[in-house]
Point group: C2
């Protein structure tokens, strides 16, 4: 490895003090234009690259943003991450990525590491099994925003779509098509997003005087295969359903697969509504009816918001985005309509 070129090397080579070099590199107006150019030329020739660690130490700023998600490979989060990274780079920040697999100890560990790294802000999908560590963050004044979930126990910054509303219109859509036996499948019980979506589902049923049957409400992990499994569970328990509000698109696709395996055709025999409008939903057959969130844009909003919080700690972020129904090919009138 070549010896590291520091500001001192540039100073020596250019016959200026290291302070003048520092100013030149930071484009300070306090340096004569000519001097600046001379120094910059030397710096370039030597291949000088500013050391971010040195800068961070003295400035106390790292331009690091922590991104803590449960599963970066999940298409929903993957798209969000893409949007977040995009804005981060644009604004001169860097993204450090952590996966928690929905495990509390990994989440706690990630946050500890991020504090140690002096991340300036954190975007996090909390597992919601405990929130002590987040309360701690709050006390420390390290800005964070929860992604697509909401902590109820104390005030935090969050940005999410109106999950109750989204699920409500999804359910209502099925009811209007004539469905009465509608299941709600997927999601982790203790996660706010699921609670909210379940609320919307129940509200829609109640409004139409349709009984809420707990047997038709199933929780699951978020994966294609979990969706498939949960659907089979309902089927095998002998419950007769014609419509499904899936927790999200990934679960919905799993359900579609299982339905197909079991010889049930979608939407003729069973209608399915997803949630999120991930890209693949437009390209599968049949195309999935779903509730749409603007994922890439949402990611950008997240990143812009955390940067705003970093720049001005006083502002509080509480943003709720209205999702909308996208009707495609997985919903139709029930068979015996």
């Amino acid at each position: 490895m070549n010896k590291k070129i520091t500001i001192i090397d540039v100073a020596k080579k250019s016959d200026y003090s290291l302070m003048t070099v520092s100013r030149a590199i930071n484009n300070s107006p306090l340096v004569k234009e000519k001097t600046k150019n001379k120094i910059l030329r030397v710096a370039k020739k030597l291949g000088y690259i500013q050391d971010a660690i040195g800068v961070s130490l003295v400035k106390g700023k790292t331009r690091l943003i922590g991104l803590v998600v449960i599963d970066s490979a999940n298409p929903f989060y993957a798209k969000l991450i893409h949007g977040i990274e995009n804005i981060a780079v644009e604004k001169g920040y860097h993204v450090i990525l952590f996966n928690t697999n929905e495990e509390l100890n990994r989440e706690v560990e990630a946050i500890k590491l991020l504090i140690g790294l002096r991340a300036e802000g954190i975007l996090i999908v909390p597992c919601q099994k405990s929130h002590k560590h987040l309360l701690q963050l709050k006390r420390n004044g390290l800005p964070f925003i929860t992604i697509s979930r909401r902590i109820r126990e104390f005030e935090t910054n969050y940005i999410l779509n109106d999950n109750a509303y989204g699920s409500y219109i999804a359910t209502k859509h099925l009811i209007e098509l004539g469905h009465k036996e509608i299941a709600f499948i997927g999601g982790n019980k203790h996660v706010s997003t699921r609670k909210d979506r379940l609320k919307g589902y129940k509200k829609a049923l109640k409004e139409q005087n349709i009984n809420i049957k707990n047997k038709l409400i199933i929780d699951s992990n978020i994966s294609y295969s979990s969706g498939a499994k949960s659907f089979c569970k309902i089927l095998d328990s002998g419950n007769r359903i014609t419509g499904i509000v899936a927790y999200n698109d990934v679960v919905a696709i799993g359900i579609m697969f299982a339905a197909n395996e079991r010889g049930l055709s979608v939407p003729e025999e069973i209608s399915i509504v997803g949630y999120d409008n991930i890209e693949i939903t437009k390209f599968i057959f049949p195309r999935l009816t779903t509730i749409s969130q603007p994922l890439q844009k949402l990611g950008e909003i997240y990143c812009n918001s955390i940067i705003n919080l970093i720049d001005d700690k006083k502002e509080i972020v509480k943003e709720i985005i209205k999702p909308k129904l996208v009707v495609r090919d997985t919903t139709a009138n029930p068979y015996d309509f």
Copy 2:
């Protein structure tokens, strides 16, 4: 923001020198057990968290790994990233993520930033439009491994699957089913992965004395919609094909969608083979026949390898993994067989 707790605060509070505290925190055997415990207790009570910036500055080590990909939302890379992050955390490294969108200047910028951040190693999907910046990395002795692509212009570390072979068995599979008019769709022309896959495709055709028609070879970006578009292009140019070797699964799924839109049924009227075996391929209808790479594991191999390189710069990584054919439901005998 509470004042930052440093090693000095712990030293004062515990009545030891900051050196002893440092040793205690790093679990040095040079500290008496009792002293260590006392100090650790104080540290915990004060909420001390080791500052990674300070450590990095003096040690010259950051435990940062740069991860530079063209599109982290692409399911192939998303899965790889997940595997990489998993190992990184396990080994005490942190992952900084950059997307390049296949743009050279973003790639160059990302590398510059990573050098500035003193990343210890880089995993990169190079856009391959130029490689000067990578040559520079090599000269600097900053270890890097190219992901799923190979630089031909100079020696680098790489890990990839045997693309030519994978594409060869994909094509051969179609030929054995009786196909003769086989297209190759997707991928960027200047990317090594595509060159290799195209080579395999051509080799299989030649072996069976099937003419290679350049009209049936189409390049494209890597996205569902690009796959769809490219397929339509072939169709609209009046070329009659019965089989398709897709550059990868994402492109293949796009093609399936377009085929469906055009009223062509898969596999009855057209057979399709993908590449990568991303998770969704098992859950769509019809399930995609594809060439399988162990994605999560591959990610873990990448991360382990870069860490090995970081620990011992002398080792060179050149690993080629044999992919295998997974026959599912998108390939069958051609219609007029």
